[in-house]
């Protein structure tokens, strides 16, 4: 019934060796492992984690098929939920790290200490002297993403702890 639309093509049922599917899962997992272990780009590391989760999904579906048991497919949903939550948090971390370090390389984020990008010019208020905060600026603050477009809504420097 479920297979009605493909039935003529798959009339004989699943006739391939299911071990192959588990093998595919293994191969995908090691590819994901390769990505996480070798790549330094945080985005690609996140993608590799997705590959590993998918490898687990393949194996779950395969065993669900083998044992004629739906739980495997249900577990795939839970795995997808975990993946969705992981991506949301992971990407939020990527954005936070990128804001601080201007880089997507994990090695740049290896050091816990704040990088001093120099003070961010404070919010310009109406009527304030235009040249008032020129002495704050130094060559470094051009690096700070927070200082260019978004300065008006953050009166404090982004890397506030760095000044302390």
């Amino acid at each position: 019934m479920a297979a009605s639309f493909l039935h003529p093509l798959l009339a004989a049922g699943v006739d391939m060796p299911l071990e192959w599917v588990v093998g595919l899962g293994l191969a995908l997992f090691s590819v994901g492992l390769l990505g996480v272990a070798c790549r330094r780009n945080i985005l690609i590391m996140l993608l590799s984690v997705e590959i590993m989760l998918n490898a687990a999904n393949v194996v779950l579906v395969a065993f669900s098929r083998v044992h004629s048991e739906l739980s495997g497919q249900v577990f795939v949903f839970f795995s997808m939920t975990v993946a969705a939550a992981e991506v949301a948090i992971g990407l939020a971390i990527v954005i936070a790290v990128y804001r601080l370090r201007q880089s997507t390389d994990v090695d740049d984020a290896a050091d816990l200490g704040e990088v001093d990008y120099g003070p961010v010019p404070p919010l310009k208020l109406e009527g304030e002297d235009q040249h008032h905060h020129d002495d704050h600026g130094d060559a470094d603050h051009s690096n700070d993403a927070g200082s260019d477009g978004a300065a008006p809504d953050s009166a404090e420097p982004i890397g506030a702890a760095g000044e302390a």
């Binding site: 019934m1 009605s4 039935h7 003529p8 093509l9 009339a11 109406e126 009527g127």
Partner: protein, 410 residues
């Protein structure tokens, strides 16, 4: 369930029916595969021609709404204008700017077009009544009878955004990139409301199969009457998903030149164009199927499968007209308004709708289906009223403006 466009029902000679039928054991015969390919080709061409005609219709209708006449020179009533447009697109120079990412730039229009074309596979375009177990049941005909038809359409339609986002990114220009980023954000925001607006339909019909949803509506009532809010939200969200005005942020020409397709020309641009119109056709067909009973029309469809095609086409054409109609009436939303509408208005409304519908089904209170829309519309009105009250301080008389002399020196 009979899903294939059954050749026997089309009244073809038995010998033809034999050629295109499956083997006796239900496996695929050569003739069956050929027959399926022919049906698929027919369907694809119907959409392509419809897409071309839509360009003509868009220009004619917009002209009528602006007291103009529109293209009426090429062929009767300008109906051959699409051919002229096509000729122009084909023979124009295909410029690939030097600064683009060539691979992505080339495949982006394809990625945008293909999902739009393949979604139509599960849409039932006609059907007939058949006696199943002593009961007359509406059986729909479509290319592929998928048990998860609704999910299939939602899944594939979500892929189309890659074409737009990648096209914008690969063009390597500011306007295109902004268009692409907007497209992906908009798509994520509105896919939620779109999917949640379908859930009550699925709950009431008890199936994800589009044919069974139509059968439910043929037996009971059209879902637009019992789920008007879901219908309205689905329709609006599909405008956003197809990037049509008032939600055409990705290509808003007054801000972003042409958005994601600024750098595209010739057939690449034509493919983006085609994808938009094919997407509109699919959205119209889906609204028709989910909320307006598809190919059924109060018993008129019993006249034969041709009547079913006619009814379905007329409904789809009405919604296609509505797409054009709305485009030339409502101005574009601001981006924050767009996001606000999606996340703050539509998402809670659809969620409440889902919960209430599920409750009504669980309690088996069918009369509640008719009360639900009234309740929800009242709730929406109350929510609006509260918001309106809260906004009141925004409109308090402003502090008096400084005198003219001071103003310049402030």
């Amino acid at each position: 369930m009979m899903g294939v466009l059954g050749t026997a029902q089309l009244g073809m000679a038995p010998i033809v029916a034999h050629i295109f039928s499956k083997n006796d054991d239900g496996s695929a015969s050569f003739g069956w595969v050929i027959g399926r390919i022919l049906v698929v080709l027919l369907m694809v061409h119907v959409i392509l021609i419809l897409g071309a005609l839509m360009v003509w219709a868009e220009r004619r209708v917009s002209a009528w709404m602006q007291d103009r006449i529109g293209p009426n020179r090429v062929g009767p009533q300008g109906l051959l204008q699409p051919l002229a447009d096509l000729g122009k697109f084909m023979f124009k120079e295909d410029v690939i700017p030097g600064h683009v990412n060539k691979v992505m730039y080339t495949i982006a229009p394809l990625i945008a077009t293909i999902p739009a074309l393949i979604t139509f596979a599960v849409v039932p375009f006609t059907g007939s009544y058949e006696t199943v177990g002593g009961e007359s049941v509406a059986v729909s005909w479509q290319i592929a009878d998928l048990n998860i038809g609704v999910l299939y359409i939602l899944a594939i339609a979500g892929i189309g955004v890659y074409g737009i986002a990648l096209g914008g990114w690969a063009s390597n220009s500011k306007y295109s990139l902004l268009g692409g980023v907007r497209a992906s954000a908009q798509m994520i925001s509105y896919e939620l409301s779109l999917g949640l607006a379908v859930v009550p339909v699925v709950l009431m019909a008890g199936s994800l199969n589009l044919g069974e949803i139509i059968a439910y509506q043929a037996e009971n009532t059209w879902l637009i009457f019992t789920q008007p809010l879901a219908f309205f939200i689905f329709l609006t969200a599909s405008y956003a998903e197809t990037n049509r005005l008032p939600f055409d942020m990705p290509e808003s020409e007054t801000e972003l030149v042409a958005g994601y397709h600024t750098e595209f020309s010739s057939m690449k641009f034509a493919l983006f164009f085609l994808a938009e119109y094919a997407n509109m056709t699919v959205a119209a067909a889906l609204v028709t199927t989910l909320y307006l009973g598809g190919w059924t029309f109060f018993g008129l469809e019993t006249l034969g499968w041709g009547m079913g095609v006619l009814i379905f086409s007329l409904k789809v054409i009405f919604f296609l007209f509505a797409f054009i109609w709305v485009r030339w009436t409502i101005p574009r939303f601001r981006y924050d308004q767009l996001m606000n509408l999606g996340w703050v208005v539509f998402l809670p409304l659809t969620l409440i709708n889902v919960v209430l519908t599920a409750g009504a089904i669980a309690l088996d209170q069918t009369w509640m289906f008719f009360l639900l829309p009234v309740l929800l519309i009242a709730a929406a009105c109350v929510a609006t009223w509260i918001g309106w009250k809260r906004d009141e301080d925004k409109f308090q008389p402003l502090p008096t403006a400084p005198a003219a002399g001071e103003e310049g020196h402030a």
